[in-house]
Amino acid sequence: MASLLNHSRPLVFCPGCTHERIVRALDNALGQMNINGSEVVLVSDIGCSGLFDVFFHTHAFHGLHGRALTYALGLKMARPELQVIVTMGDGGMGIGGAHFLSACRRNANITLLILNNFNFGMTGGQYSATTPVEAITSSRFLNKLEHPLDICQIADAAGAPYVMRCSGLGEDLSNNIEDAISYDGFAVMDIWGICPGRYSRKNAMRKSDILDQIAKLTPYNGVIEKNERSEYVSSYNQICSELSQPTPPLVVDKEHSPVISGKKEILILGSAGQRIVTAGELLCLAAMTGGMQATQKNDYDITVLRGPSIAEIILWPEEIGYTGITSPDVIVVLSEDGIPRRRQSFAQMAEGGLVIHNSRISVPDCQARTIAVDFAGKGVGAKDQALGALAFLASLNEGISLAMLNSALEKKFTSTHLATAQQTLAKMQLVEQPGA
C-alpha cells in the first residue's frame, strides 16, 4: 500500500490537532483503494483544513473560503473520471452554505470531508456555525445567541445520499473515509476533532467527550436510502447524449424589392400578452426579406403578464447606427398601457407620420395622419391585433409590403401557427398595393 503523502511538505499542524490524524487516515484510505495520485484532485479552501492539498502527491486545487465545492463540481463535470475530494472546515461549510446545500441536492460523485472543530482556528478562535452555545470562544458572547448547525441533518434534508458523523480520533477513520470515497454520489463526512491551539484551550475536550456528544445526536453512518438516486454527472451526460441538435438561427434572404428608400422608425405600443415583441420581430423579418436592415428594441416591465409592452423598430436600406427612436414615422397603438411611456413620441413624430390605433382607444393629439382600425369589429382579438396592425401597415407599404409580411410569417411559423396568422391577415380584408 503506497502512501501519497508529500514528504517534501511535512505536516505543520499544532501538536494534538485532529487534522493531522485525518491527513494520515485519508492517506491510508487512498492507499487501501490503490489510487494513483494523478487520479485524485484534492480541493480545499481557507483555514487549517485548507492546508491539506499541500500534503499529498495528487492534483491540487486550493481556492477561496467556502468555495471549494464550486471548483470541485467544475472539475468533476469536466473530468468525470477524477476522484474529487474536498476538505473544508466548519468555517468553510458556514460561509459556503449555499454551495453545500446545492452539492447535497445535486449528488455529483464528490467526497466532502468537513473537519469540524467548532471554531475558526486560524484567525484566533472565533465562533463558527457549529460552535455550541455554551462554548467559550474569542467571539465573547456572540455564540451564546446562536443555535449551532447540525451539518448532518442539513445534508440529509438537502438530499445528500451519504452522510456520516464520526470522530476524527476514531479507530475506523481510514475505513470510513474509504467507504465515503467509494460511494458513487455526494458523500459528506462530518468529522469532529480537537483544536488544541484555540478551541480546546478553554473548552475541555477529550476523545471520549467527542464520542459522548456525537452519541447524543441523530446517528449518521453513511448511506441514506431515501436520498439515494442516480449520480449527477452521469445523469447529466446521459441526458445530453440524447439531445437533438438545436435549431439554427432563422436565415432570411432577400426575396422582394424594398418598398421604401429611406429610414422608417416604427413604434408599437401595447400591453404585455399582446405579442408586441413578436410583431416587432415579424416586422424586422419582413423588412429583411426586402433586403432591408432592421433593429428592434423592446421595453417592458419585469412582470410578464401585466403592464406596457413596447417595440421600437428601425428599418433602413443602409447600416443602422443609433438604435434609438427620436422622431417616429409610424406609431401603432393597441392599448392604453403603452401611451404614457411614449407620450412625447406623438409630439415628436416625423413629417408625414402615421398613427394607426385600435378604434376603441383614444390617442394623444398629434400632427400625424391618424387611422382608427376596428380590430374587434373585424374579428381580430387582442392577441392578434399587433399582427393585424402589421398587415394594415403592409397594405399601405409603410416599411414593408404584404408579400414581405407573408414571407416573414412563413419563415417564423410552422403549420398551425402559420394558419392562424394567415387567418388574421384574411380577417383584416386588406388589398395588396403595388410596390413603391
Binding site: 511538505r9 495520485g37 494523478s38 484532485v41 480541493v43 492539498d53 499541500v54 492534483h59 491540487a60 486545487f61 486550493h62 481556492g63 477561496l64 468555495r67 464550486t70 471548483y71 463540481l73 467544475g74 472539475l75 463535470m77 469536466a78 473530468r79 477524477l82 449555499a98 454551495h99 446545500l101 446545492s102 447529466y236 445530453c240 439531445l243 437533438s244 441538435q245 438545436p246 439554427p248 438561427p249 432563422l250 436565415v251 432570411v252 434572404d253 420581430e281 424586422c284 423588412a287 429583411m288 432591408m292 436592415q293 432592421a294 433593429t295 428592434q296 428594441k297 423592446n298 421595453d299 417592458y300 416591465d301 419585469i302 443602422i320 447606427g321 443609433y322 438604435t323 434609438g324 427620436t326
Partner: protein, 372 residues
Amino acid sequence: MGRTLMDGNEAIAHGAIRAGCRFFAGYPITPATSILAKMLELLPPAGGCCLQGEDEIGSIGYCLGASMAGRKAMTATSGPGLSLYSEQISFAVGSEIPLVIVNVQRLGPSTGSATKGADGDIQFMQWGNSGGLPVVVIVPTDTRDCYFLTIAAFNLAEKYRCPVFLASNKEIGLTRESVDLDSLDVPEIEERTVFTSDPEDYLPFADRENDGVPDFLPIGDRTLVRQTSSTHGQDGYITTDSKEIARQRQRLKDKLENHVGDFTYYEYLPADKAETLIITYGVTARAAKQSTLAVAAKKTSVLVLKTLWPVPEELIVATAASYKNILVVEMNLGQYVREIERLIHDKPIRFYGKMDGNLISPVEIGEVLNNG
C-alpha cells in the same frame, strides 16, 4: 449562417461555441439571462456542459474548476452578479485561470434598473477585485462585435491565461439586429499553450521567456498540477520569498500591459480637416458615428475603443496627437475620461455622459459638438 435577426446576447453564445467554449455556468439576471438560456440550448448538444449555479459565486467557481481541467469556459452576468464574482475574479487573475466573463451592463448602482442600459462598470471591471492587477476588458458596439469579440475574448483568455471581460450593455445584448455573421472575418481560434517537455520538469507557474505566460497542463492528466489562490512560486506552493513574490506580481502585470498592442481593437473614422476627436466605446459609438454625419458636426473624427483595459495608451496618444481638442462620450457620469485625462495634457478634453436609462443620441452629441 446567412442574414439573421439576432441580438447581442445570442451572438455572444454563438461566438462562444465558435471559439470552442465547452463549459458555461451562470445565474439568471436581467439583461444577461438569455446568454445562459442560449448556452443551455447550444452547449450540451455540442459536447459541452452548461450549468445554472446556486448563485453567481458558485457559477464562476464551476468555471474556474472546469477551466483548470482544460475546458474553455465562460460565464455571463450583470452588475449585481459581477459584484459577487469579485473574489473569484481575483483568483483567476492571480492564479492565471483562463475565463471569459460577459458583463451585460445595466443601470446601477446596486440592483438599479434591470431593463435599462448603462456603461457604469467600466472602472469596476478593472479595479473591482483585490490586488489591483490588470485584467482585459473588451467592448462591443453591436451584434456583430458581440460575435467577433467573444471569439477574440476566448483567444485572449487562453493565450494570456487570464480572465477577459466582454463589456456589453443591455442596449446591445437585448437589441435585435439584422446581421450576417458568416460574412465576418473572425479571428483564428487559439488554444492555451500546453507544456510538452519532460513532465518531471513541469512547474505550473513557470513563466515562458517570450511572453511571461506559464505553459498549461490540465488537472486530471498524468502529470500532477497544483493550483492555488495563495501567493505561490513557480511550483504552485505558497512562498514567502519576497523576491519571488515581487517577480510573479510584476509578471502578471507585464504579461498583459506589455502586449496590449497585440490586442488593441478599435475603429477610427477620421474626418477631413477635423479639429475635434470624439473618443467613445460601446453602444454610444453608434450614436457618435451618426452624429458626425450631421452637417454641423462634420469636422469631427471618431475613435471607437474596443479594448479598454489594459488602456491602449499608444493608440490613444498617437490618434489624439493631430487634434485640437477631445470629446469623450460615455454612458456614465465620467469613467474612462479619467484615463484619457491621464494620457493627454496638451489640449482641452471635454466630457459628455449621462445615466438616465436612455441611449445618448446623435442629436445630443451634435449639440455638445456645436456648443464647444
